[in-house]
Amino acid sequence: MRSLLSLAVLAAASVVSAVSVTGNRLLVVLDDVAEKESYSKLFGSLADRGFDITYDTPRSEDLQLFHLGERTYDHIVFLPTKVKALGPKLTPQILLDFVNAAGNIMVALSATTPASTSTVAFLAELGISLPQERTGLVVDHFNYDTVSASEKHDTLVLHNSKPVRYDMWDVFSLRDDEFLALPHTVGHTLGAGELLTPILRAPSTAYSYNPKEQTEAVDPDDLFAAGQQLALASAFQARNSARVTVLGSAEMLQDKWFDTKVAVEGGSKVSTKNAEFAKTLTGWTFQELGVLRVEEIEHRLKDSNETNPEIYRIKNEVHYQISLSEYRWDAWVPFNANPNDPPQLEVSMLSPFHRLNLAPEEHSATDRTRTYSTDLILPDQHGIFNLRVNYKRPFYTYVDEKCTVSVRHMAHDEWPRSFVISGAWPWISGIGATVSGFVMFCAIWVYSKPAAPLVKKTQ
């Protein structure tokens, strides 16, 4: 009985602990607190995962993101609001400060409500642009839902089977027969920033238009974006690994889109995978997925037991290893890097002298970390070197670890002796010949007759 009880307590504890690594205080900003009912499944899932959810409106007086310089929330979700601006408590600058303080933000937009100017300005700071007039609707006459939008074609049915680039983590990918439904979507375009990654892009037949102004036809000059340049969901991961996601369709998170069945033209009805996608998207944004942690760094001279010495000699053989683990929903698990794109070790002084792939070591199933290691020969250059692992990949938090070591030159007695080098033997024997010739010369000189001084004297 008692063991059963403790087991239950343990289970409960594990459920409660199943939460983001950066904290569990979640703020949801929506137009009307009563609106949360239509998102009850999403918020129910978040609450189950241990988030402490606060609902608030931009008009609220006591809404505060910072108190005494500290964040009061760890994560924010913005649902569409009808206000023109989010007010003095949620200015773009405050939102940027929030991201700089390692807070995570998820912005959900909708074509039915224009985005607030604060949101537009905030996203513009990150390099994400929204259509003119802060609104737009993405339609696709080939990939629409025949059940709900057979006339307007404004509910997109997409399958997101591949990541944007082949070598990226496929965390948001679905199987080929699984579909997402995106009703009333606002598209956005991404700037050239390297911190931006599209999660979901529009199909090549989609385009964006303004339903209020461009009712008849879209003038090509006024077209905001079309095809794959339209992003429907995007991720921004700041340099401090804080995450911002933008989702074009807030309605896809609503309960009714979690379990409806949709059908593409000529296809059968299938239920959407919106619930799974919403869980992955919130989990990734709120640092429940793809969070990397460096457990241990060790470098040592080969065949030596002293770890992490401060000084090495040039051309020393050094073993370097780094242990990485990854947070996945509720536990740290070994991090398995893409074998074609492994973490790399840089031996750098100003610029890298070596950049070496780190190979994963064998590990047992019980391990919580995965060790990556390499053996290297230090460069033939003395000075202060950094052993640096700089691993920055989309959808993973950044790893940038430096170990600074001194590399000294050879001591004068560490060079090989000349008699060890066979090439030097002729010169050694040259000295030998000179010295022995000298000794023999001296011996004969001493025993030889001096020059007749008498002759000299007579002169």
């Binding site: 080098i421 090439g423 002729p426 020059a451």
Partner: protein, 161 residues
């Protein structure tokens, strides 16, 4: 002193016109003797014009054997040996490369240094140069030579590592 120098420079200038290496080797020897030897080397030259170079060298060789003190001959043999050893080392460096460079420097410079020191000894002990080193006896010169050579050997053996 001045008279001696003049006596030396005169015959030296005369053979220089013949433009062979042989007179310069003879030149230092001439003042040691009486003025009489001067015609002796001069005569073979006249003969050489008729009898060929072989006669010249034969005469030089004979003169060298007869007029050179035994110690100077010993010095010359040792010098020849050093030139041989140095040339071999240098040849090896050209053919096989100079790695390890310190060994090459040490071996070759040791031989060259020994050569230079021996030349110094030869200059100081030659009777003809006695006037230039009035305070240096042959024994003193030899002692200097041994000390300097030992320092050189010590340095070379250290440097070859």
């Amino acid at each position: 002193m001045a008279g001696k120098k003049n006596a030396r420079s005169e015959p030296a200038a005369a053979p220089a016109t013949t433009a062979t290496s042989t007179p310069s080797a003879k030149a230092p020897l001439t003042p040691t003797k009486n003025p009489i030897p001067i015609p002796t080397p001069a005569q073979p030259k006249a003969v050489a014009a008729q009898g060929g170079w072989a006669q010249v060298f034969q005469n030089l060789y004979d003169y060298y054997l007869s007029e050179t003190p035994q110690r100077t001959k010993l010095l010359d043999v040792f010098l020849l040996f050093l030139v041989l050893v140095g040339a071999l080392q240098f040849l090896y460096c050209i053919l096989a490369g100079n790695y390890p460079f310190n060994a090459f420097l040490s071996g070759f410079c040791g031989t060259v240094g020994q050569f230079v020191l021996t030349i110094s000894l030869r200059i100081q002990t030659t009777e003809a140069n006695k006037a230039d080193f009035p305070k240096v006896s042959p024994e003193r010169a030899f002692a200097d030579y041994v000390v300097c050579s030992l320092i050189l050997h010590f340095f070379c053996v250290n440097f070859i590592n």
